[in-house]
């Protein structure tokens, strides 16, 4: 089991552009959460998807949107990129009914640089 896989690993975009990041959850997991981790900070919750719907959202603007597919994989889209969007974007998967017992499984992240 490869665990949580994210692609791409690194990305450089220009201010104003749009970006799509992808995540495949660990086998058996049905829930995907996205986090933004700025340098020197802990991960910040963006949103969580379950059954192809956004269950909860953190304090992020509407420029951040997502999607979950029937196979539980997920995408994070960011429109109108700002320099401040430069960060490591982490995907975490879990099995909804067991997340209290087992927490989240994290991917290695996508490093986004906006220039």
């Amino acid at each position: 089991d490869a665990g949580v896989t994210q692609s791409p690993t690194h990305l450089i975009k220009t201010r104003g552009q749009q970006v799509t990041l992808r995540c495949s959850p660990k086998s058996g997991h049905d829930t995907v959460s996205w986090y933004q981790q700025a340098l020197g900070q802990g991960p910040q919750f963006i949103f969580q998807y379950y059954e192809e719907e956004e269950r909860q959202r953190g304090n992020f603007p509407d420029r951040f949107s997502g999607h979950q597919f029937p196979n539980y994989s997920s995408e994070l889209n960011v429109n109108a990129l700002l320099l401040g969007d430069s960060a490591l974007y982490l995907c975490a998967s879990s099995f909804l009914r067991d997340s209290t017992n087992y927490g989240y499984t994290f991917g290695s992240g996508t490093r986004l640089t906006v220039v």
């Binding site: 665990g3 949580v4 829930t31 959460s33 986090y35 020197g40 900070q41 802990g42 991960p43 910040q44 919750f45 969580q48 269950r55 909860q56 953190g58 982490l90 209290t100 017992n101 087992y102 927490g103 989240y104 499984t105 994290f106 991917g107 290695s108 992240g109």
Partner: protein, 109 residues
């Protein structure tokens, strides 16, 4: 609002010394608390969860509701414990897991 504070960004101890990584939280309800660890060039991974009251790699963490703390402790630190440690809190039934800023632990030989 939920908030997690890890007051020490850096912590350095010698091998064999006791180590305590502090975590304080602000939340009025019943929190679910976790410690995550990130070793060099590895992904973030779950270390401990408060509900299990377990010891993992010699680490333990006790939830103190009176002091709203969930400090991580190990009586004898090892060099392989050197890593970034994050305390995380989630409101029961909520999906927003809040992380602290992290503490970088260095265990010197």
């Amino acid at each position: 609002a939920q908030r997690v504070t890890q007051p020490e960004k850096l912590l350095s101890v010698f091998k064999g010394a006791p180590v305590e990584l502090k975590c304080n939280y602000s939340y009025s309800g019943s929190p679910e608390l976790f410690w995550y660890v990130q070793y060099s060039r590895q992904r973030l991974q779950l270390l401990l969860r408060h509900i299990s009251r377990e010891s993992i790699k010699g680490f333990t963490a006790d939830l103190n509701k009176g002091e709203t703390s969930f400090h991580l402790k190990k009586p004898f630190a090892q060099e392989e414990d050197s890593a970034m440690y994050y305390c995380a809190l989630r409101e029961k039934g909520n999906n927003d897991m809040r992380f602290g800023a992290g503490t970088r632990l260095t265990v010197k030989p």
